[in-house]
Amino acid sequence: MDLQAVAFYVLAAMLVVSALAVVLIPNVFRAGLFLVLAFFAVAGLFITLGADFLGAVQILVYVGAIGVLLLLAIMLTRDVHHGSPGNRLWLPASVLGALLLGAVSWSLLNTTWADKAAEMPVPATAALGASVFDLQNGFILPLEIGALALLAVVIGAIVLVGEKK
């Protein structure tokens, strides 16, 4: 087994353990911290699979921004130290979760995957940038539309969250 595979399985084990910790730890704040660790492990998985741009995005957006937002939202609530109380719906939730896991695993195993790994550029970031910012067949107009969407998010956030005068 080569080193990439070892790193992949170590990160996968880290992901499973931290995801279980998110669900099982009663303190919500610590569960949030474990969620950040799970995001980080997913970023590592992306990188071991050769998708370095996705890994960078995962760290930038999920570990960096979503993690901060989530922990801040937890700290904005009162009585965090009481944590999440015992949930009466744990049995149906776990049955539903097991069913979903079974369905996903079944469809994963029964799909014939087109193996495009050899065609994939590794590292992907430079190739992605070159294809997005190409003048003839690039994606410059969708990029600017994305900028407008982000502008709408800024204005919406200020209007919704900003204090009323």
Binding site: T48, R78, A126, L128, G129, L143, V154
Partner: protein
Amino acid sequence: MDYWAGYGSIALFLLVALIFGLITIILPKVLKLLGLVVRKPNAVKYTTYECGMETIGPSWVQFNFRYYIFALLFLVFDVLVVFLYPWAVSLRGGGWAAFTAMAVFIAVLLTGFLYAWKKGALEWR
């Protein structure tokens, strides 16, 4: 340096950081189990020493709601960095077209930043 070598060195850093952290946590406990450290606790040893003021009441406090708008704005400009990253990596090949495209992109988001500034969303009221 190729892809795997570059990320391999990051993985090595991560591994060393992890081992260092674990050793500093576990070593005192192991030494205590082996009876190598003398343990004579008293009230003075448990006081907060050179770690800030003594806390009054619980230290889990509700944060001020005003922080949330900063977190939301941070999220938006973090997404901007996601677009900047492949642009910066491929800038040499892209030429002026790529530069202008990103300049327009940043100008549009700068409008949002100026709006937030004008609205006083960045001020602490």
